[in-house]
């Protein structure tokens, strides 16, 4: 193809040249070029390779329908894989690499595959690589499959997202969409007008028209000025790709300057679909050669970017639009031959015309060099422009569950029954002439003021692929589906369109069969003796065009995906050199020393003297009011209403299924005020659960629930020197054990600041939790840190606390319990027998499953083979049967700090009655032996709580 740039014309800015590279070669263009038009003007013919047979391919389309040419685009640090070159504006400095080629489009070394094409029809891979095992072949096949390459080192830029409401969303800014937008805005409606082209105008940008007595370009300029005056929001480069629940239209907006795409979520009262129609290819042998292009695309390149696609052009059509394209090409200086399948085509002056003829085959290897007509006439050419009719773009109508109706005169599926809130107009409604489209606007919109255009006619004669034709006739360019593949699918009884699609991959590529689907289903109809409407279409699913993940994700990426919760004392921890890690959504100190070795040292220090621990994420949900005690009796598995003011009680909260949902300490501050101290990772869930039961079951105004977790910091002081450290820190409180025993809470002060001291222990040592307003916590921390260091102690991270609690047999819900664990399995059977009041999950504890004697129960494990730490997740084995059987698994495993040697917790079948027994453990192919013990490995009598 000898395409060339014309010296004059087009919308390109010739004073603003630009350069980019394609497969390493420099391509020159102008502002106003798309990547495609600049590549075309460069005279390069082979711009890509086909998906399966690796055949050379050139441009077919000029817009979103382009099936052939995609490229990976690098621009500075930004990388966008697999971009259609027809929709991307050319920019200075871009680096393009043709997708799916090795090493590049021109010299692809896998091109030999096409020689074997007849041995690899549809289904070849399924049928051939079954034996001995698909996985042997998969890596090499996968390496060749796919489009584009993702570079994991480069992420796309972050896209904006916009939510918008309006009266009307007009999709498509061609002449009909522009007219509709003007009529709606003129009637006082707020209107958004979106178009996937680089500028509004649609076909007016490249087709001749006369509207309201003006040339099309003048009418366009006038209308755009009017729309601006009426406040219409115009979104160019914006594709409405999907219609979702509750009238949400999702649009993806590309930007001229290479910024990340913007996702628009628009909720219009009314959708006006004026998306036009897409030209179909013609079926003839070798119809995929470079240089064979959609006639309307050729016209668009000529008029918009002044690129004449060939010197010697054949225009082949089965409809009345071919003549206009032929005339335009001839006027631009090409030698033109028109091949029109309609026998009654009027001759055109200066253009050789073959009426009633069609193309039998194209000639050439890497580019089209000529055609042979069905009467044997051979015509030399370097460019073949084809028009096989138009397929209306009615995806949003179909997504709205509109039913399509086949139109035999236009040879297209058109919108059938009306869908409320959605109006289809123009080419999308099969009105392929302006006169017809404008005339129907007033009725369609219920408004006056439609423009007028001289009546013209559109005529088309069928040119569907015919069964049994010789040669290779491409139906789907992007996925390399030929007429023979469709015939094979029919022979093997994949005759439903959905089966046809999946068996041959027809219409499954990134272009979603915009140019191919109708030819494919027409051929299937012919093969199976059905009419096209009987065959029907596949389901229209969003997105209409590929949408980058960066657009869908917007700001919800990286750290913002699930924002970390930050401690009030984070600055203090960092100053102390803490390694920080995420635990239950909070960023917490893991340990303070250099490396993991610090963990055990911190745990031992806390056992020896005193450890300081930031326990701020611990839940602090206040339950206040005269009915609070009754309410919490219902919430907790344990009885809590008997708790005295100033007292604390450890308890479980169950789900209604009887499974343990959370554990923690309930504090009763006074008669009508409690603090639910749930696990840090369960605060939101417990809070919602409390609210749900309060509103559902209790006099809601007699109970008030307040989540004070984020507003309150808690510092835990634990160890034999805990009391001394608190005293030394200058905290005013009566710390005498008689006045302030274990499992009680007392008020205190640090300077002028009130705080709450609670004696509970998650370490087994004497412990105090000091809760204070979060913004005042740093002063308290500094005082305690100084005091602890003077006593030989200091801060400890969460991993040290895990060691301390594990050797005491204290559990973490969700780690040492699972979705089956009932409270009895954790050694707490009392309340089910003794508690009179109703509580959540109570009835479930009577179920057969809950009462099974062989339940997994919490135990401790000690290595019985002289080995070290038992692996978490290792399964206990029952070896008595023919095959080993799992009898539970290790849930926690740590080196002991107070205990000499490793400790582990596990859920083991009937574990509570098996203390002392030695069992086999299996983990990733290796075996260990362990002795079952009580969960508590250290200080079983609990003397250290007051030590």
């Amino acid at each position: 193809m000898t395409a060339r740039r014309l010296p004059l014309g087009g919308e390109i800015e010739r004073a603003r040249p630009l350069r980019f590279t394609f497969d390493g070669k420099v391509i020159e263009g102008f502002v106003g070029d798309t990547l495609a038009s600049a590549l075309l003007a460069s005279g390069r013919q082979v711009l890509g390779r086909s998906f399966k047979y690796r055949r050379p391919r050139g441009l077919f389309g000029a817009g979103v329908e382009e099936p052939n040419i995609c490229a990976d685009v690098t621009e500075g640090a930004a990388f966008r894989p697999n971009q259609r070159v027809t929709t991307e504006p050319a920019r200075d400095g871009l680096v393009l690499r043709s997708a799916s080629t090795a090493p590049d489009a021109e010299r692809d070394r896998t091109g030999f595959i096409d020689l074997f094409a007849r041995f690899i029809p549809s289904g070849f891979y399924y049928k051939t690589f079954m034996f001995p095992d698909w996985h042997l072949f998969e890596p090499r096949i996968r390496a060749m499959a796919g489009l584009g390459r993702v570079d994991p080192a480069k992420t796309g830029p972050v896209g904006d997202q916009v939510n918008h409401f309006c009266d009307a969303l007009v999709i498509g800014a061609g002449p009909v969409g522009l007219a509709a937008a003007r009529m709606l805005a003129g009637a006082g409606k707020s209107v958004v007008l979106a178009d996937d082209g680089s500028r509004p105008g649609g076909s007016l940008l490249y087709r001749e028209a006369e509207i309201d007595g003006m040339p099309g370009a003048d009418w366009l300029a006038e209308t755009l000025a009017q729309l601006a005056g009426l406040g219409v929001t115009i979104l160019p480069r914006t594709t409405a790709f999907g219609l979702y629940d509750h009238g949400l239209v999702a649009l993806n907006q590309r930007h001229e300057d290479g910024r990340a795409d913007t996702l628009w979520r628009v909720r219009p009262e009314r959708i006006v679909l004026a998306a036009g129609a897409i030209e179909r290819p013609l079926p003839f042998s070798m119809n995929d050669l470079p240089g064979i292009m959609s006639a309307q695309a050729g016209l668009s390149y000529l008029r918009r970017q002044a690129v004449l696609p060939g010197a010697n052009i054949v225009v082949a059509a089965n409809n009345s639009t071919g003549a206009g394209v032929a005339r335009a090409m001839a006027e631009a200086g090409a030698r033109v031959t028109l091949v029109d399948r309609r026998p009654d085509t009027a001759p055109l002056s200066g253009i050789a015309c073959h009426a009633g003829r069609s193309i039998d085959r194209a000639l050439g290897r890497k580019a089209v060099q000529g055609v042979v007509l069905d009467d044997g006439t051979e015509i030399t050419c370097d460019c073949l422009l084809v028009s096989g009719g138009f397929t209306p773009t009615i995806h949003l109508y179909a997504q709205a569950k509109g039913r399509l109706a086949w139109d035999e005169t236009r040879l297209a599926f058109l919108p059938g029954d009306p869908v409320p809130g959605l109006t289809v107009i123009g080419g999308a409604a099969g009105q392929f002439t302006l006169g017809e489209a404008f005339a129907t606007l007033p009725a369609a919109l219920g408004l006056e003021g439609a423009p007028t255009a001289a009546p013209s006619s559109y005529a088309i004669t069928p040119a569907w692929p015919e069964p049994g034709r010789k040669g290779r006739i491409w139906i789907d360019y992007q996925h390399d589906v030929t007429a023979k593949d469709v015939e094979l699918a029919a022979r093997e009884n994949f005759t439903s369109v959905e089966h046809l699609k999946r068996y041959t991959t027809l219409g499954m590529a990134t272009d979603q069969g915009k140019t191919s689907n109708l030819n494919g289903l027409a051929l299937m109809g012919a093969l199976t003796g059905r009419e096209i409407p009987e065959v029907g279409t596949t389901t229209y699913r969003p997105p209409f065009t590929p949408v980058p993940y960066t657009s869908l994700a917007g700001l919800r990426g990286g750290e913002r995906m699930n924002p970390l919760r930050r401690l009030a004392l984070e600055g203090r921890h960092r100053a102390l050199g803490a390694a920080m890690g995420e635990y239950g959504g909070w960023l917490r100190p893991v340990h303070y020393g250099e490396d993991d070795a610090a963990i055990l040292a911190e745990a031992k220090m806390a056992r020896a003297t005193v450890g300081l621990f930031d326990a701020s994420p611990l839940g602090k949900i206040e339950v206040i009011g005269p009915d609070a005690a009754d309410f919490l009796d219902f919430i907790y598995y344990n009885t809590v209403s008997t708790l005295k003011p100033g007292g604390c009680r450890y308890g479980f909260i169950l789900a209604e299924s009887g499974v343990v949902y959370d554990d923690g300490v309930l504090v009763r501050l006074d008669e009508h005020r409690f603090v639910v101290s749930c696990s840090s990772s369960h605060v939101a869930g417990v809070h919602a659960m409390l609210e749900e039961w309060r509103q559902d079951r209790f006099p809601a105004r007699r109970i008030f629930i307040h989540n004070a977790t984020a507003g309150t910091a808690t510092i835990t002081v634990t160890g034999p020197e805990a009391r001394a450290a608190i005293r030394a820190a200058g905290i005013a409180a009566d710390l005498d054990d008689a006045a302030f025993p274990h499992m009680t809470t007392r008020p205190g002060r640090h300077g002028d600041t009130p705080l709450r001291l609670t004696r509970v222990s998650f370490t087994g040592d004497r412990s105090y939790e000091l809760s204070i307003r979060q913004d005042l916590a740093p002063g308290l921390w500094d005082a305690l840190d100084g005091a602890a260091r003077a006593l030989g102690g200091g801060p400890i991270g969460i991993e040290a606390v895990m060691i301390l609690r594990a050797e005491k047999g204290y559990i973490v819900i969700g780690k040492d319990s699972d979705g089956m664990t009932r409270p009895m399995d954790l050694g707490l059977a009392g309340p089910l027998r003794s508690k009179k009041a109703e509580f959540i999950g109570k009835r479930s504890l009577l179920q057969e499953e809950a009462q099974r004697p062989d339940r997994n129960q919490l135990v401790g494990l000690q290595p019985a083979d002289g080995g070290g730490l038992l692996p978490v997740g290792a399964h206990g084995l029952d070896l008595s049967g023919a095959a080993p059987r799992s009898i539970g698994y290790v849930t926690s495993s740590y080196p002991g700090a107070g205990h000499d040697g490793p400790v582990a917790l596990a859920l083991i079948e009937r574990g509570a009655s098996r203390h002392g027994e030695v069992i086999e453990l299996h983990h990733l192919g290796s075996r260990r032996r362990a002795r079952i013990t009580a969960p508590c490995a250290f200080d079983p009598k609990g003397d250290r709580l007051n030590g």
């Binding site: 949400l248 209604e656 609210e691 749900e692 509103q695 559902d696 809601a700 009835r843 179920q847």
Partner: protein, 88 residues
């Protein structure tokens, strides 16, 4: 994305809401007097209607529960209605 209407806050995006189950799925009372089947019905068996569904939802941002009628075929959702106190 759907838009639901909280009776207290008005129309809000669906991700602010949490599903609370079928309206009228009453909790059987009486502990061991409740037959297994009845308790299982309450715990596990959902109406799952094709068409109009009466459901309880919580608007997480204000914390209030309310009832909502929703068409599971068209996804249309009527504005939420406040639950009267004591109404299960």
């Amino acid at each position: 994305m759907q838009i639901f209407s909280c009776p207290f806050c008005g129309p809000r995006p669906e991700y602010e809401f949490h599903f609370g189950g079928d309206l009228g799925n009453h909790r059987p009372e009486g502990f061991d007097a409740v037959p297994d089947q009845k308790w299982a019905d309450y715990l596990y068996f959902r109406n799952n209607p094709k068409g109009m569904a009466r459901e309880v939802w919580m608007h997480l941002t204000c914390g209030e529960m309310f009832s909502m009628t929703r068409d599971t075929v068209t996804m249309e959702a009527a504005p939420g209605e406040a639950l009267a106190e004591g109404q299960p």
